[in-house]
């Protein structure tokens, strides 16, 4: 069992200034997940009549992209290619001090404590992250269109982006280019995505800029911290798509 000191960002609401608050927590099992450890802390806070720490979570198995904790200076904590809900307390040791903060970006305003508003990602998706398919009953079988294996694999890899926002949180510039490039790439690599390709990349990048995300300077932090290992290759592809679309449009 471990004894920890948690330094957690507490903020009552979007307009509150917020601050880091220290919470000592004892009897933490190394087998607990990180979110279970927060559940234990919250139970203690509730029993003491205090407000529990608000944090985002849903599937708790690394596929929904809901959890969003900046733990000890890294998105989703010290391990790579996992989300915060897949992080376990065995990654820490007895006596550790753990900073737990929300994603920091002007485009991700804090709603309460560790919960941020990521609807800016939704608006980027709505700007072009889709294909228009007739679903009236005579839709063509997708398998009837041959797709080169390499492109199919790359499109699938891009489509594994869960939109958690770790790329933005990790980037020193709060850039969303890894997320947007994954969404652009998953369609750009497939024939079904070609019809709307020009409008898609122009509109998604325009929306990304309007949301106030920063400019990518290719530090590569996003790729390292992405729980799904989305590659920087996607950003290069989006740059090509954007420049080509700009020349056409």
């Amino acid at each position: 069992m471990m004894n920890l000191t948690l330094k957690i960002w507490r903020q009552k609401n979007a307009s509150d200034k917020g601050q880091i608050v220290d919470y000592p927590l004892s009897g933490v099992s190394p087998d607990m997940s990180f979110l279970e450890m927060l559940d234990v802390l919250n139970q203690e806070l509730i029993e003491k009549g205090e407000q529990p720490v608000a944090f985002d979570h849903d599937c708790r198995e690394g596929i929904c992209g809901t959890c969003s904790l900046y733990i000890n200076g890294r998105a989703h904590g010290p391990e790579t290619k996992i989300t915060a809900c897949q992080l376990h307390m065995r990654s820490f040791k007895d006596g550790d001090t753990i900073y737990i903060e929300p994603w920091r970006a002007e485009a991700f305003p804090v709603v309460k404590d560790l919960i941020v508003d990521r609807t800016s990602f939704d608006r980027i998706q709505q700007a072009g992250g889709f294909i228009s398919v007739n679903t009236s009953g005579n839709t063509q079988d997708a398998n009837a269109i041959p797709i080169e294996k390499e492109n199919a694999d790359k499109a699938f890899d891009a489509a594994t982006c869960i939109g958690c926002g770790a790329c933005v949180a990790s980037c020193k510039n709060s850039s969303a280019m890894l997320f947007v490039s994954a969404k652009v790439s998953q369609f750009a690599l497939l024939p079904q995505g070609q019809v709307e390709a020009t409008d898609r990349v122009l509109n998604m990048v325009k929306q990304m800029d309007e949301e106030g995300f920063g400019n990518c300077t290719n530090t590569g932090a996003c790729e390292v911290e992405c729980p799904k290992g989305i590659s920087l290759e996607n950003i290069a592809r989006m740059n090509r798509e954007y420049l080509s679309a700009s020349l056409k449009g």
Partner: protein, 228 residues
């Protein structure tokens, strides 16, 4: 096409193009300067050609000045915009875990290179412009009245590297330039969309370029300092 420079990707692309141009310029600058070590006469001949050929003086030189100014101004503009994208900083960050020092400090290394360029312009460029276009001496000779006096370029170069303080400043600036290039070289290719099966090979070449070229300039400065 309209408004491309107002977009984040457009600015990235423009920054990368100016960087690629400047890296090409640096390579040709080094190729000429290293001649001063092996053959002062050839160095003089090439310098005179570069300093008097109208295409270089009136076409490429203004393009170069524009490229330098654009790259620096855009660098600062992007930094300001990026700082606005996160107004509240994290209480704790572990940036070394996911990115290199060079990639995170391009503004710092770039600012030192900018300071060096001011010194470099005062040392070489302004006197050169003064001699050629203010005093009107296009001869390139040590003594314009004496055609036997020989070209002045090598003498001027050697003279500048007498001062240990100046040589020290050059060495520091080129170390910072090397750090700038260690991230900048690959970053420029990534920004223009070149990330493919050749990227790993390019990364290897970028290290050779980013360390080799500045080291070469340092060698030239130290060579002339200790041999004259």
């Amino acid at each position: 096409m309209s408004g491309i420079l107002n977009s984040s990707i457009g600015r990235k692309f423009a920054m990368a193009l100016s960087a690629l141009f400047l890296m090409f310029f640096l390579l040709q600058h080094f190729a000429i300067n290293i001649l001063s070590v092996f053959s002062p006469d050839t160095f003089n001949e090439v310098s005179h050609f570069m300093g008097t050929f109208w295409v270089i003086q009136y076409v490429l030189q203004p393009v170069l000045i524009f490229g330098v100014v654009f790259h620096f101004v855009m660098g600062f503009v992007l930094e300001i915009k990026n700082n606005k994208a996160r107004k509240i900083a994290y209480a704790k960050t572990s940036r070394a875990a996911n990115s290199t020092w060079m990639s995170r400090n391009m503004l710092l290394t770039g600012a030192v290179v900018l300071a060096f360029m001011v010194l470099h312009f005062i040392d070489f460029w302004i006197p050169e412009i003064n001699t050629k276009y203010i005093a009107g001496d296009m001869s390139g000779l040590i003594d314009p009245a004496n055609t036997e006096s020989g070209f002045r370029y090598y003498e001027e170069l050697v003279h500048k590297f007498h001062s240990p303080l100046r040589v020290g400043a050059y060495v520091i600036a080129f170390v910072l330039l090397s750090l700038h290039l260690l991230h900048g070289f690959n970053s420029a290719f990534q920004s223009v969309g070149a990330n493919n099966k050749y990227t790993n090979g390019l990364k290897g070449f970028s290290k050779v370029y980013a360390i080799g070229i500045p080291l070469g300039f340092v060698f030239i400065a130290l060579f002339h300092h200790f041999t004259h």
